[in-house]
Assembly symmetry: C2
Homo-oligomer: 116 residues x 2
């Protein structure tokens, strides 16, 4: 379906880490804040949840749309979902993820643009 | 990248309506709640934002992951982003969207599975 002039850049990324990932909101918040800064986005509202026994979900409502991060520490896996009405490229999100995760060793990073 | 045994069903949908869409959180919340019920999902936390001059963003953190809805009333357009760690099919989300929007006349509905 043509979205005409409505710009929606939507990316999903799966990050596999070499080492175990701290199961804390503060750790995920730190990564999200770096991503936001790196991509020049603006946060309007924030929400978090820490799952039992492990896993964190963070969602930021942005002036551009939303960022959602889910973690599965036991699988050393993180999912990033970013929807933006300001232009974002695959290269910029790859670069932003790499710099935001610099304290953690990445095993693999897969990024896909979701085009409806 | 292989996600091995980690199940992530991720769908994005764009809905074009025939008529203008009420610019209210309560309207979007009503649709989101129908979607959640129809798909058998469980809401943990909710967050909303009403943009000026128009547009609503709603995000629910689910026990299965998240649901995000963005509206552009001036374009009669709605974007639905659903990430679930419980299996969801394209058919089930199409059926859920159709029934959740039954009070509004759909012009077009496009759904895409986002596979990373």
């Amino acid at each position: 379906m043509a979205t005409s002039t409505l710009l929606i850049d939507h990316f999903a990324a799966i990050i596999k880490l070499e080492d175990s990932f701290p199961n804390s909101v503060s750790e995920v918040k730190s990564i999200a804040d770096k991503l936001i800064k790196s991509l020049g986005l603006t946060v309007i509202k924030k929400i978090y949840h820490e799952f039992e026994p492990s896993g964190v979900t963070l969602v930021y409502i942005l002036s551009q749309s939303h960022l959602a991060i889910h973690t599965w520490p036991e699988r050393k896996t993180i999912h990033v979902d970013l929807l933006s009405c300001s232009p974002i490229t695959g290269e910029s999100i790859r670069s932003a993820i790499n710099s935001s995760f610099e304290r953690l060793r990445l095993n693999a990073l897969s990024i896909k643009k979701c085009e409806v």
